[in-house]
């Protein structure tokens, strides 16, 4: 029973954090709400026994990426954007599109109830999420994609430095 309560609390706070990110006017508040959401998602990974991914989520997302976001927001010295009072018809289309997407996703999840895989036992899933299992898979089976993701990150770093240089080359 405790696991269900934990899941529901984490899911509610995660959705609340995402909602707070959507509605806050100031980008700094948005970033802080998103950090709350990311911590709750890390807790949800823990309820799935994916311990390694949960730690990586806190380290990479909540630690590195959101610090980068906050750093850029404070570097640019941003204020909240002025409110536009006139009606924008593109917002109506955006609302219809996103509600259609939500109903489509819910329909797919609901209608494929009997196709979902049988859940594994607790021992299997707990052994499945450890760093030991994932490292064996990552460094043996997925060694080449691992090297390629390193090259991608190097290219992204060089590109970010090139783009934010003061005088364009």
């Amino acid at each position: 029973m405790a696991a269900q309560i934990l899941f529901f609390v984490l899911a509610t706070v995660a959705i609340f954090g995402a909602f707070g990110m959507l509605v806050s006017r100031n980008p700094v508040n948005s970033a802080l709400w998103l950090i709350l959401n990311l911590f709750c998602v890390a807790g949800i990974y823990l309820t799935l026994n994916a311990t390694f991914i949960a730690v990586i989520q806190v380290l990479v997302y909540a630690g590195a990426i959101m610090v980068l976001f906050l750093f850029v927001i404070m570097l640019l010295n941003l204020a909240a954007l002025p409110d536009v009072r006139r009606f924008e018809w593109r917002k109506g289309i955006a609302y219809i599109l996103s509600m259609g997407l939500l109903s489509m996703l819910s329909f797919v999840v609901t209608s494929s109830l009997d196709l979902l895989p049988e859940p594994q036992s607790l021992q299997v899933s707990a052994a499945n999420g450890t760093a030991n299992t994932l490292a064996k898979s990552l460094f043996v089976e997925f060694a080449l994609p691992f090297e390629m993701i390193g090259i991608l990150l190097l290219a992204a770093t060089v590109g970010a430095v090139m783009l934010s240089k003061r005088k364009p080359v």
Binding site: L38, I53, L76, L78, P117, F142, I149
Partner: protein
């Protein structure tokens, strides 16, 4: 009542839709980038839930790669925001219309 796989899938659908709403509604480029991070997170929840339900660690390796791509995307996107802010002194996307006419 057990926690089944569909609850995770429903949570993921809700978070993905909130990311789409944020991307379509906000005019702030930085909040749009954060919405993309939210969408990537929703997909990661699906991948981890299915990976644990099927007993196959490959899905979690894919989550690892998605996180690396998200980090690269955030770095490049924020560098572009800084470069665009230098010219226009705003981050409102409706002001960036250089290619429009």
């Amino acid at each position: 009542m057990d926690i089944t796989l569909n609850w995770y899938l429903y949570l993921s659908a809700i978070l993905f839709t909130m990311g789409v709403i944020g991307f379509l509604f906000r005019r702030d480029v930085i909040v749009m980038l954060m919405s993309i991070e939210l969408m990537l997170n929703a997909v990661n929840i699906t991948l981890v839930a299915l990976s644990q339900a099927m007993g196959n660690p490959s899905g979690q390796i894919l989550v690892f790669f998605v996180m690396a791509v998200a980090a690269a995307e955030a770095a490049i996107g924020l560098a572009l925001v800084i470069a665009a802010f230098r010219g226009k002194l705003t981050i409102d996307v409706t002001e960036f219309n250089l290619f429009k006419y």
